[in-house]
Symmetry: C2
Subunit: 143 residues, 2 copies
């Protein structure tokens, strides 16, 4: 069985979220590769990021092959476009059988598409709204 | 002492986060007013939002007076611009003495500015990165 630290993780999108996550995961000594269309996006990576970067469009199969998607244990789709995230998640899950695929979700109504693909989602909007609400009204019980 | 449900909350910014939070808080039967520069932003509010909306620039004092900032118990700055959020939070805290001010934080390096103002912050990027990391690597202990 694979040791956790041998896991290979592909992150699609190197915006604020993708770059922050890449740094967090890199610190756990996993192998991380980050894909973004824009070279300048990689400047967001912290100095101690120890993974690789690929400047290319992740919805092209050649890009995913360059990223060795067939060996990936995890793919995370973090771009700011739901359509891109859904497409990449779908390719990863159905064509390459990546065991764990997680995607950033903008429009909550899209969640059902991911559920059908067995892809977990995280909505920064929903997470943050709940955190704000907890600060503002506390954990009171409502009728 | 004021009952919780009599609290008056001003939300600055009606983007995805502001509108979602407005709906959550509105459900707790608090009085909520949402300010945004763009009329079309208010379309994001859910049908059951029972608060008020003001179409104006929140960094203008007249706008905040129209929103009755002097009576507000809570102000939340949720725009996608750190400078706007800092300015509004500062006005709310130092000029009008709003008891609780919370702001959305983009650049973690700005956090110190808020701490000096006694303003709580939430970073959607940090929150979401941690949530993604927990899904991906679980809650393992690192050396």
């Amino acid at each position: 069985m694979k040791k956790n630290n041998d896991e290979y993780i592909i992150i699609v999108g190197c915006g604020r979220l993708g770059s922050h996550l890449a740094s967090l995961l890199s610190k756990t000594r996993r192998s991380v590769v980050v894909i973004d269309k824009e070279q300048h996006a990689f400047h967001r990576l912290s100095d101690d990021f120890s993974g690789f970067t690929i400047e290319a469009d992740a919805i092209e199969i050649d890009t995913l092959l360059e990223a060795k998607i067939n060996k990936a244990d995890v793919l995370v789709a973090t771009t700011n476009d739901d359509n891109t995230n859904i497409m990449v998640a779908q390719i990863a899950k159905t064509i390459y059988g990546v065991p764990k695929v997680v995607a950033r979700l903008f429009e909550p109504s899209r969640k059902i598409v991911y559920e059908e693909l067995d892809v977990e989602t995280i909505s920064p909007t929903v997470l943050s709204s709940i955190a704000f609400k907890n600060i503002i009204v506390g954990s009171e019980m409502e009728d």
